[in-house]
């Protein structure tokens, strides 16, 4: 490699200076939060910081029966301090996620310990709450005390670590995430297929139209982008709800009886319809850009060679449009599995997707570790899909235009 002379180096620095704002922006708004969240999914120091001595002593505990008195003494001292430093609530919340019902045990004990000046602590704590005599309580504390942990990821795929260290399925009633992932994948698949079925003819029409008309049609495809996503989604509510426009028309036409109005929103149907509408342009644009590159003489050539229109399409046009199909499908699918706002508004209870659960854990249950782990699984899924696509089709063949 040749060493750049001074003015070349200056030019390179200037170029770097021009892209620096973007790089910094991406770093601050995308890479840093992503890294923080992914760290959070495996790193949780709250309990480890609050109860260091207790956890160190629990290491020696064999896991059967109650721990020795020294553990109780350390726990009492550290819980009291946590109460004073007002971190006990966070500790209680984390322990509670492993073993339901322990939140009040931990906070209650921490409060009441202040009135008891001395040991023996085992008796004192058990007197405050029977739960302290249960080994499960101490297992829960030991589990949450791990500074680096896989339990959020296990949780995210409906697994748990048993007290003996082995990995097993969650109990039936707590298995929700795998089903939700599966549903998200299926719904995204259906939406992708619908977008392809609806978008393919439109893209073809635009690609074959004379330039001025093609521009107009492209603008029409893009018009939804000028409207707020919220407006578009709520418009679907107006159209689809039980007393909505579509039901009114169906009733007026006599196709549906007045008390048999169809439930088309606040369920999976609503999610699919609204998301297909929102994501359609992402299918049309890559398809259009690939189709524009297919010479129109190809269909004429196929016809002159004796092919029926169907044969010409299947053998000549479709294979050439595949890069666009791949790009559009990948784009729509990836956007769909991470989509949040539309299912939240029109999905009801059975139209919720995994991203709504992530939002729930971020905003309501405040279990950021689990939210991050769910996000991490989703990210891994997307990367896997991308790798698969690259392997099968080749990313360089993707026609994003």
């Amino acid at each position: 490699m040749k060493v750049p002379v001074a003015h070349e180096r200056r030019a390179q620095l200037r170029a770097l200076g021009l892209v620096a704002p973007l790089l910094i922006f991406i770093g601050v708004t995308f890479i840093a939060p992503l890294a923080t969240m992914l760290t959070r999914s495996v790193h949780d120091p709250v309990v480890a910081d609050a109860l260091p001595e207790t956890l160190a002593l629990l290491e020696a505990w064999d896991g059967t029966g109650t721990p020795p008195e020294a553990v109780y003494a350390a726990a009492a001292r550290e819980l009291e301090r946590a109460a004073a430093e007002r971190t006990v609530g966070q500790v209680a919340g984390r322990v509670n996620r492993v073993q339901g019902g322990l939140r009040s045990v931990v906070t209650g004990t921490a409060r009441d310990l202040g009135d008891i000046g001395q040991g023996p602590w085992r008796e004192a704590m058990t007197a405050i709450d029977e739960a302290w005599a249960d080994p499960a309580t101490w297992h829960a504390i030991r589990t949450t005390g791990e500074r680096f942990t896989a339990r959020h990821y296990l949780n995210a795929v409906d697994l748990q670590r048993l007290p003996d260290g082995s990995v097993a399925s969650q109990p039936e009633e707590r298995r929700i995430y795998l089903r939700l992932f599966l549903r998200t994948l299926m719904v995204s698949g259906v939406i992708t297929l619908l977008c392809l079925l609806l978008g393919y003819p439109i893209a073809h029409l635009i690609a074959r139209a004379p330039p001025h008309r093609a521009n107009l049609l492209l603008v029409l495809v893009l018009v939804p982008f000028w409207t707020s996503l919220l407006v578009r989604t709520t418009a679907w509510i107006v159209l689809l709800q039980t007393q909505g426009v579509l039901n009114d028309i169906l009733v007026a036409m006599g196709l549906v009886s007045d008390d048999g109005r169809l439930a088309m929103v606040y369920n999976m149907t609503g999610t699919i319809v609204a998301m297909t509408h929102v994501l359609l342009p992402f299918m049309v644009l890559p398809l259009y850009s690939v189709m524009r590159g297919i010479p129109s003489t190809h269909m004429n050539a196929a016809a002159s060679l004796g092919a029926t229109p169907l044969q010409a399409f299947l053998r000549v046009y479709w294979p050439q449009s595949l890069p666009g199909v791949g790009a559009g499908a990948l784009l729509v699918f990836i956007l769909a599995i991470g989509y949040y706002i539309t299912p939240a508004l029109v999905g009801g209870s059975d139209g919720q997707l995994i991203s709504n659960m992530i939002a729930y854990h971020m905003q309501t249950s405040l279990n950021w570790g689990l939210a991050a782990a769910l996000g991490g699984v989703l990210l891994a899924g997307v990367l896997l899909l991308y790798a698969l696509y690259d392997r099968l089709v080749g990313v360089e063949r993707m026609g994003l235009g």
């Binding site: 190809h298 050539a301 016809a303 002159s304 060679l305 004796g306 092919a307 029926t308 053998r315 294979p319």
Partner: protein, 367 residues
Amino acid sequence: MTARRDTAHVEFRGVAKSYDGRTLVVEDLDLSIRTGEFVTLLGPSGSGKTTILMMLAGFQAPTAGEILLDGRPIHDLPPRKRGIGMVFQNYALFPHMTVGANLAFPLEVRGMDAAERGRRVERALRLVRLEGFADRRPGQLSGGQQQRVAIARALVFEPTLVLMDEPLGALDRSLREEMQYEIRRIHRTLGVTVVYVTHDQQEAMVMSDRIAVLRGGIVEQIAAPEGLYEEPERAFVARFIGENNQLHGRVTAMLDGDVCDVETGGEKIRALKVAPCEAGDDVTLSIRPERVAINPEPGSYRNEVSARVEDLTFLGDHLRIRLAACGRDDFIATIPNVLGHGGLLEGDDVRIGWTVSDCRALDHEHP
């Protein structure tokens, strides 16, 4: 298919085409093409030649008139049922298929079995001298090779009629000339009827049995290449095919034997009457540069005028002389490089002459 010479393979009867309902792209076309004939539609862009081809192929419908194939009207047949081979501008090879698959495509859609397909594909590749290219993709071939594949694909299902729409337009000059002879060879080997569209007169001359010169949707003249060159009937044809001097003049007298006297640039020229004209009509005189003799024996030509040499250009096989004569300064004469340039120098006063039969009085065009 037995060659049926002298029968019309393709016939246009009063065919007209308009895209917008007002202007005619093709006007009242009557054209009959014999089986096995190589006919070229030659004309500048916008002359309607491609439209005629597209109507024959079935991609455009005539606005009026009818087209007959082997004596049967074909306007109800979609392109795929016409059984016409077609070579497109820019080839229209399918880039996602190998050369072999491209050639097999028309056979496949006809339901031919794989063994027979393989044989025919191989034969077609041999015809265009591309043996061993079956597994390549069109994108891996040069322009000339792609052209050969396109021709092979148009021939592989053994059509009796092949249409070619400016197939050599994308090739460079030397390759174009090579391909012209190649196409001529293939035509002679197979005996298929070819309708060829081009704007290149040399291309048309090399390959065609007959050339139809088109302008503004009208056939100006249809004749064999020699006929078009030697006996142009229209000023446009004379100008479009080969070089010629066109002198604008007025008929002063009509003589017996289709001969007339024309006055142009102060000279009185005797010319062959081609366009219908009377004394007093405006005409265009067409004189080929190579038929102009420089300093001939006095009295050996009916037409003799004085001229001055303005410019001499040596062009290897011939010498091109620009003269001031008949009131203009762009009168061109060429003499073959056989005897040298006969001691001519710029500024020399000379006499030039030509025969009556080499001077054709054609229609007058208002510029």
